[in-house]
Amino acid sequence: MLYREAGDFKTSYAKDNQTFPIKFDRTGYWVILIAAAVVVPFMVNDYWASSLLVPFLIYAIAALGLNILVGYCGQVSLGTGGFMAVGAYSSYKLMTAFPWMDMFSVTILSGVITAIVGAAFGLPSLRIKGFYLAVATLAAQFFLVWLFNKVSWFYNYSASGQISAPERSVFGILVTGPNTAAWAQYLFCLIFVVVLAWVARNLTRGTVGRKWMAIRDMDIAAEIIGVNPLRAKLSAFAVSSFFIGIAGGLFFTVYLGAVEVGEVFGIQKSFLVLFMVIIGGLGSIFGSFAGAAFLVLLPVVLKVVGVDMLGMPTDIVAHLNLVIVGGLIIFFLIVEPHGLAQLWRLTKEKLRLWPFPH
């Protein structure tokens, strides 16, 4: 009852092929989008932007990117942190070398550079599969972090090796640097998220996406039916790295503003984004968002509840935090092994019949 699916008739293929074939979903999508674009910017303050929304949006981009690679093309990668670093350092070099360049170009170019690097590191995937590939991509992770740490050209020979984002604006509105308004940060990221999610969704249901999924499900079979594995795998690496590069760029320019590569883009980041993808649901756009939300927001919520409301010592809360996140991951898995996205799908099924189940 709540979820109105029945009675939603379609009379043309175009209608049937919509991203949200169900009217209720479609309305919901537009409501959320309008709320996010029009209502939230007026309500958001520094705390909400810097602690919750901006990291959530940026991680969502990274998770989308990794989901294309892992969820749609079946190539497990643990190089995300390294590729995000490529995006961040590209942004830094572009911003300092070409001060006139606007932030959209900077960010997109960073994505392109990362895509090239990602495709290059994707070459071993033609021979190596499964967990072996996952570990092989760690080579990229460790090498890239080491490189950015070692070669001082990347951080403009500064004494400390840290990079910090200078102030840049878009249409006269500051989007990077400490004086940026919360809403500007948020909207800038939101634009990227919406566009990239749209791209991801349409890529994955088109020819390219179907090739990826064929490779994922069985690459030999895919090859036999005429999918070129070289092109499919490398394009997945490139597109995925493009997303991740943009996420890395935004992470540095908009979110943190100053970055040290080993700490921010270390191996932990690679694992974190992979966890987001797996927890959210492999091969699902919604799952990428759900996973990012789960791992970004839950610790903050637990902290607020534990420390601010219950007044427990901060270290105990931090430890309990781990216990609860770990416990929830296992719990969700047992209830629904295919991630939050599948859980959402099941909920919809149930809601459709509510309150009169079979």
């Binding site: 071993p124 021979r127 080491w146 797996i278 781990l322 770990g326 991951i329």
Partner: protein, 329 residues
Amino acid sequence: MPDQLLFGMEVALNGLMAGVMYSLVALGFVLIFKASGIFNYAQGVMALFAAMTLVGIQNGQVPFAHLINATLGTDIHNFGWTVPALAAILLTVVVMAIFAWLVNKFVFSHLVNQEPIILFMATIGLAYFLEGVADLMWGSEIKTLDVGLPQGINDWLETTTFDAVGYGFFIDNLDIVATIIAALLVLGLILFSQYTKQGRALRAVADDHQAALSVGISLNFIWVLVWSIAGFVALVAGIMWGAKSGVQFSLSLIALKALPVLMLGGFTSIPGAIIGGLIIGVGEKLFEFAIGAPYLGGATENWFAYVLALIFLVFRPQGLFGEKIIERV
């Protein structure tokens, strides 16, 4: 004046020793992967947890003392006794066995027949969980681990080599002990899997779950067994690494040192874990010695281990000793 060749030999020798230390960690991964197809991300945290438990028991720490004190307003820290090292090790093994049982009871028995990626994910959750529990239980200070292992340079080797070639080679006594223990461990595992009933059952499960089930082998029992053994291996790795650095959070990161070893040796082979460890150890140390430190500014070992493994994989995608991947359409 000793020359570069002698230095290189010393570096290679120490690389072998470091390799053994990596293998100790890798063994735990292999055991679980072989028996159940689970890539156990939590292996590093298990080593941390085991080592913390060992020190905690030895020093008579009250588990969860901080939590209890904060909740009940008490002030307890110690039982006021100390347990001898050997007894503490045995008790820790019991704790790890209980842990193995709990893991199977509450996690993996609910996830039978799931895809590998889902089992992997469950171990991620487990890693988070265990990390939090370990710190809550024993506190996050650095603890000194003392089970009476020798440390420091081996004098005999130094003087012998000095007399023979004019340069005294360095080897850490701890590494020698680690090598002996690793050898015993592998020997024990081989004997166990070849000559005992449980061991044969374990191999049967590793070969084919369903076939093993159909001849009446209890999967549950085997999994608990294999997780217990992995817990024991984690304890050994924790002791060896913890003896050097003290028992602290970073111990859980030693898993990262084991991954290239696994890749190179193959996820399913115990000898692979040992030989992979040795190759990685020697390779990364020699590279740092010959190229990394003089030309690239040093600290190359972390990534070079992976690159080395990657080069091997390009030629043998299943690792040196891994089972050949047969793909059928």
